[in-house]
């Protein structure tokens, strides 16, 4: 055996092993998600959320909404937050150094005045310029904070310092929440008697092409544009399958920053959001879990499959690329910060399954895939391609499509947001097209994210959005 054969065989076996592990994970995710979703739906059918809406014993919740240059929609979005159906709630809007007229608009619309407010700086942050409250009792739940720009994580930390309540719900101010979203997110914290629920996440859905009026979702449509539609499928797969499966294993590592709830006491004990990472949502949850493991306290992270929060997906390749690049850098930073847990039995499922999964498949996936393409070209040139293995490897694409179709099936069996047969077929077509059109771009953005991480680029990137108001007018005309 010469060295070329050894390299070739070694590489081939590693790739086959990797592909086999990935397929095994797909199968496990499918099985676990079915069990968890079924359990949730059955349990949920016994829940009367009206009872929680009026219960004085309901957990007290602070909604944290960081905003940077959101002047166009901020009034409507805050109004939507204030109308959420929950009794024990305060809404803190953090104006993170906006250069537009967001603050002036808020002051005028909600009759705000600057208060003498002591801020208990349990987490260090950028300077707070003022804390505003409303003279109008109708808006007594609202607190607006004006601060020096420090990024999303810093803005959230200011909100945590100011919050009076026991639980935090973080939302992106441009998201649209269902009326009962907070009720559903609060319930997991009340259910567990033997374990402490430290965080609960909710499903994000794509709102492109949906009708939104007055900050509320009026009608659901499958996105008309190709990219948002393909992301609709991607979100269904990620939230309805993957996150539900990880919840069943109590190994969930990511709750989206756009909509998630956290136990404030644990968040503060962990030092709040890390403003040195662009993946602050994942990093916080991993740190909270790590803290609980180190304290040897039984805990749980819950996830709710109900569609509760609707967001706008990037509609251009440029914005999508920026987003995926940032996600990759966030993942690498989190994995790097917590590398101590890698295959560390002290951290149980977190160290032995969740962390390695993220390291090998979420972070490593795009790298391995790119390496595979590169090596394939090299082997073709030197005439060493084993076509059987190659075609077996290519079958992963088919399994990916099958997995997507399974996700669509789960959607139909559970929440069925897109009721027309036409929508089902459009989603199925998207599932078939995804590996050839969308997936390569996502892999490319992830690789770019890796390079940007190595070049120590820590910026968020400029995410331009179309906005709901614009689209609603377009839909109605």
């Amino acid at each position: 055996m010469n060295w070329q054969t050894i390299v070739f065989d070694g590489f081939t076996y590693i790739m086959v092993l990797y592909a086999f592990s990935l397929i095994s994970f797909y199968v496990c995710v499918g099985i676990f998600s079915v069990g968890e979703t079924r359990n949730y739906i059955r349990k949920n059918s016994f829940t009367d959320y009206r009872m929680l809406a009026s219960a004085t014993d309901a957990p007290s919740i602070t909604v944290l909404a960081p905003a940077h240059n959101e002047g166009l929609t901020i009034i409507e979005n805050v109004r939507s937050l204030l109308s959420l159906n929950y009794i024990n709630i305060e809404v803190i809007v953090i104006n993170d150094g906006s250069t537009d007229d967001s603050l002036e608009k808020l002051i005028k619309a909600y009759d705000l005045y600057k208060t003498d407010y002591f801020i208990n700086e349990q987490i260090p942050t950028q300077a707070v310029l003022g804390v505003y409250k409303s003279r109008n009792l109708v808006y007594r739940k609202l607190i607006v904070v004006d601060k020096v720009k420090g990024g999303k994580a810093d803005a959230l930390n200011v909100g945590i310092n100011i919050s009076h309540h026991d639980y935090l719900v973080t939302i992106d101010v441009d998201c649209v929440l269902e009326q009962d979203a907070i009720l559903k997110l609060a319930k997991p914290f009340l259910e567990q008697a033997d374990k402490r629920v430290i965080a609960a996440g909710g499903v994000l859905r794509i709102a492109n092409s949906c009708e939104v009026e007055g900050g509320r979702l009026v009608k659901i449509y499958l996105p008309e544009q190709f990219l948002p539609r393909i992301q609709t499928l991607e979100y269904i797969r990620a939230f309805l399958l993957s996150r539900m499966a990880w919840t069943r294993l109590n190994g969930l590592l990511l709750i989206s920053g756009a909509f998630g709830s956290f136990d404030k006491e644990i968040v503060i004990k962990c030092g709040g959001y890390n403003n040195k990472t662009v993946g602050e949502d994942m990093e916080l949850l991993v740190r909270m879990r790590r803290y609980m493991e180190e304290q040897k306290e039984p805990y749980k992270v819950s996830f709710i499959p109900d569609p509760l929060c609707w967001t706008e997906a990037p509609a251009t390749y440029k914005t999508l690329g920026i987003q995926r690049n940032r996600w990759t850098r966030g993942t690498i930073e989190t994995l790097q910060n917590h590398k101590k847990m890698f295959f560390n039995p002290k951290y149980h499922i977190l160290g032995l399954v969740s962390y390695p999964y993220w390291a090998f498949f979420e972070f490593g996936g795009p790298i391995i895939e790119t390496l595979g393409y590169f090596m394939f070209i090299v082997f073709c040139v030197v005439g060493m391609v084993n076509w059987s293995v190659f075609f077996i490897m290519m079958s992963i694409f088919s399994i990916g499509v099958l997995y997507s179709l399974f996700a669509i099936l789960m959607e139909i069996l559970t929440y069925n947001q897109y009721k027309q047969k036409r929508d089902l077929l459009r989603l199925a077509l998207v599932a078939i097209a995804e590996p050839f059109v969308f997936h390569p771009f996502v892999v490319f953005s992830a690789i770019k994210g890796n390079f940007d991480f190595l070049r120590k680029r820590h910026n968020w990137g400029n995410m331009t959005r179309q906005g709901f108001t614009h689209r609603r007018l377009k839909t109605k005309s």
Partner: protein, 366 residues
């Protein structure tokens, strides 16, 4: 060389065959999945159409029962069409009708609610619910219990009692709610025997159910001594909600409970039931507790404390923790005019403490 090339070419074609097989298998699977989805959607649409029809019939029947003004004696029958009598054997229709009856019963009271119950029994629907109690699936069992509970069929209380300590959480919860529904406060007797925890969610449910009933003095003190921590916590909530002042000393004992959650609940309880001596007891335990409990004690003192507690609270203004300083300043300010005056006189070089005092004064002025 040619031989090698031929070998490679043949390997390539064999692989093409492999590819063909793989593609065929996966394409078949995909097509099957798609066909299954379409068939499922077709049957669901058909079922939904039937359900709409059943809902219409059920709504009519429910409306008839709600507005029925005949004398409601046990032998009275609400007129039911032959079609409905026939449809009762259809499981889908029966489920739909039961759901509609349960929903109506949940949302209305008085004679109309009695009429709904009467119709439910007249159609012998409880027979099916009792059958479902034997199901091996927890969600079916729990649904049957919920149904019997909402229909206030107290005669089945003994059938439901064992479920109050069932290993399944949902079954247990529904059975406990049913017992409270049937017997009011006395229904809480299941707390004597329960070995599983009563979750916070269940506690809210039970308190909500009880809030609709006139308060009744039942013996709560035994639950304050229960070995089941969740029962002690629930008992403390009852003491607090129903202002059971006579249990002050029993609650005091809970301040020494080994479980910190019980101690926290006991501290919170004293905001509602207290004597002149309560604050002394709380202060005497202050330094034994962690920060969370210490803050809860100061918060309780805001409601129950007097100016006598101010010397203690003033010492807390020197504490390193600013949250504690804020809470203490608030308690001092609320203790009366003297308290506010002592804060005014409190000269400090600590800017943050000055900010706290300004904020507290602002809160009082608002």
């Amino acid at each position: 060389m040619l031989l090698i090339k031929l070998f490679m070419l043949s390997a390539f074609f064999i692989s093409l065959h492999t590819l063909g097989v793989i593609i065929l298998v996966f394409t078949n699977l995909m097509v099957c999945l798609l066909i299954f989805m379409l068939i499922y959607m077709y049957f669901r649409a058909k079922r939904e159409k039937n359900q709409t029809n059943y809902k219409l019939i059920s709504d009519l029947l429910v409306r008839k029962a709600v507005f029925y003004d005949g004398l409601m004696l046990p032998e009275t029958l609400i007129p039911v069409t032959k079609r409905v009598k026939k449809l009762i054997d259809n499981k889908d229709f029966r489920n739909r009708l039961t759901d509609e009856l349960v929903l109506a019963k949940k949302n209305i009271t008085g004679t109309s609610a009695e009429n709904i119950k009467h119709l439910y029994q007249q159609l012998n629907l409880e027979k099916y619910a009792l059958q479902l109690l034997k199901s091996r699936y927890w969600h079916i069992k729990a649904k049957a219990i919920q149904e019997l509970s909402l229909m206030e069929l107290k005669e089945y209380e003994f059938e439901l009692y064992p479920f109050a300590n069932n290993k399944n959480e949902l079954v247990r919860m529904e059975a406990q709610v049913a017992l409270v529904q049937f017997n009011g406060f006395e229904g809480l007797l299941f707390l004597d025997d329960i070995t599983y925890s009563v979750s916070e969610w269940q506690q809210i449910k039970l308190l909500q159910k009880l809030s609709n009933l006139p308060p009744l003095l039942i013996s709560v003190d035994k639950w304050l001594r229960s070995s089941n921590t969740s029962v002690v916590i629930f008992a403390l909530k009852l003491v607090r909600s129903y202002h059971r002042f006579e249990l002050h000393d029993a609650v005091l004992q809970c301040l020494d409970h080994p479980d910190p959650i019980v101690r926290l609940q006991a501290i919170n309880c004293f905001s509602e039931i207290y004597t002149d001596e309560t604050s002394i007891h709380l202060i005497s335990r202050f330094w034994r507790e962690g920060l969370k409990h210490q803050l809860a004690i100061i918060k309780a003192l805001q409601n129950i404390g007097s100016e006598n507690d101010n010397p203690f609270l003033l010492t807390l203004l020197h504490n390193d923790n600013y949250e504690m300083k804020l809470f203490a300043a608030r308690a001092i300010a609320r203790s009366g005019k003297k308290g506010l005056a002592s804060l005014n006189d409190y000269g400090t070089y600590d800017n943050k403490l000055n900010d706290i005092i300004i904020q507290v004064k602002g809160e009082l002025a608002a």
